[in-house]
């Protein structure tokens, strides 16, 4: 079970505490607690503080959620307000299950 805890590595890129970023983070936490409890790690990166990190993950929109693990890397941009889209996008749920 210990291994499973690191199954999902998520990274959320934001730029300061904007309403969109706050919404996105809240949404993400909610989905993860519901569907991936105990198996995920969320890292929030504020590009205003670390602008040099934007290039590495090819960030152009804010907020952007990046699924680092499991591979392949997936990206979801926006405030993550559509739960189904986020879950499908992260491959937590396939379309058949919906």
């Amino acid at each position: 079970m210990a291994k499973q805890e690191k199954k999902w590595e998520l990274r959320l890129y934001v730029a300061g505490k904007t309403p969109k970023s706050v919404t996105a983070l809240n949404n993400l936490k909610k989905y993860c607690e519901t569907h991936l409890r105990g198996q995920y790690k969320i890292e929030v990166i504020d590009l205003l503080k670390k602008p040099q990190l934007a290039e590495g993950d090819q960030i152009f929109a804010i907020p952007t959620l990046v699924r680092k693990v499991p591979e392949p890397i997936r990206k979801i941009i926006g405030d993550l307000s559509n739960e189904e889209k986020v879950l499908v996008g992260l491959n937590i749920r396939t379309l058949n299950e919906v």
């Binding site: 602008p51 979801i76 889209k85």
Partner: protein, 502 residues
Amino acid sequence: MQVLSKTKTGINGLDEITMGGLPKGRPTLICGGPGCGKTLMALEFIVKGATLYNEPGVFMAFEEKAGELTTNVASLGFDLDKLQKNKKLRIDHVHIDRTEVEETGEYDLNGLFIRLDHAINSIGAKRVVLDTIENLFAGLTNQAILRAELRRLFQWLKDKGVTAIITGEKGQGTLTRHGLEEYVSDCVIFLDHRIVNQVSTRRLKVIKYRGSLHGTNEYPFLIDEEGITILPVTSLKLDKNVSAKRISTGIPSLDEMFGGKGFFKGSSILVSGSAGTGKTSIAGSFANATCMRKEKCMFFAFEESPQQIIRNMKSIGLDLNKHVKKGLLEFHSFRPGLYGLEMHLARMYKLIKNFNPSVVVLDPVTNFVSVGLLTEVNAMLLRLIDGMQNAGITLMLTALNSGTTEHIDENVSSLVDTWILVRDIECDGERNRGIYIMKSRGMKHSNEVREFIISSRGLDLVDVYRSSEGVLIGAARKARQKQEGVRTGQNGNGQYRARIKK
């Protein structure tokens, strides 16, 4: 009164057309179809800025990866790696792939702003290129957000005070596919790549330049191993410096027809005549005389190869090869059909600029009609003559004039300062050459028709022999001269006369 300040692009010719460069601290849109040279022009703007004006630049590529870009322009002598190492350039490749990205809810492009801001600040950039930002439209579905963000981006660039180039792909009936011209309205440059008669010509037009005068024509440009060169069409200002210095034609007896002194330095001379009248020989003599004075001469040959000309000139006693070896004479030989007219002009300009000759010969200009319409050829020659006059270079053009082809010589003649005509004169079963000066501005010149003789000793002119039976030339003249034992007092011809007598 504050006038719009400008940023020099460093691209050959572009600064002249825009009268000083692109609007400083504002974005400029460069648009055109695929392969028209947008990316290259934008990149050259950055590279020239970094190398010539010490203005570092950021190149944000939405299409090509940094590595590809570096390889693509290495042939132009742009060392992007070195510039990046010296912190003069920063390339940021923005990779957008719709398949990797899912959109849900509200977002903005702050990530892009932050990246750009970071890149600009990291090297203190003064110049920015976004190539081609329209790719965002392919990668993102929410157009409303995208458009609002683009508007904000261009405003942000202005606030940032960087001189920016945005490139855009030509759309159907619009300048850019996604209407970028709506956002970037200070300066819009359109590039075009057209193929007419199987010869391709690139052209540039400044569609709009708010707050500044600019050339409004379509300007041809070319891309070669030194990057982009744009040719401003004739300045058409007639205010160049003129020289009163005279230079020899290379034929003493011809000098004599020009009051004994020859052509004006920096003037343009047209030698026209029908086939086989010795136009190239006159040009060769002129080139020879130039090199004898230790001045440089550039010879453009459109009919013969350099070796052919050297061999042929040897037959009239001119050793051009030794001038070539000394580096005083340079031949450039190519078929007119090789490029379009504009390309020819640009190439010639460039070669002339590098060699810096005092005399340029084109032999013959009539061959250009095979690649362009007569009006186009005339326009090109006009620009060439204009350019040479501005540079103080003496230009000699030869033109073939036969009954069948259109008379290019007559069209060009109003542009040139001196027009020499060589004609065939047929009588008594032989063909002789007659030479006369149609015009020569600003100097006394002979009104006579002289007989033009090409021998192994070079070119010479002799007086036609006037007798009671009329004008005698060729064999008839010789016969009469023998008969009468006449020696006319013309100094230049004495030597020839003496030879005849032998």
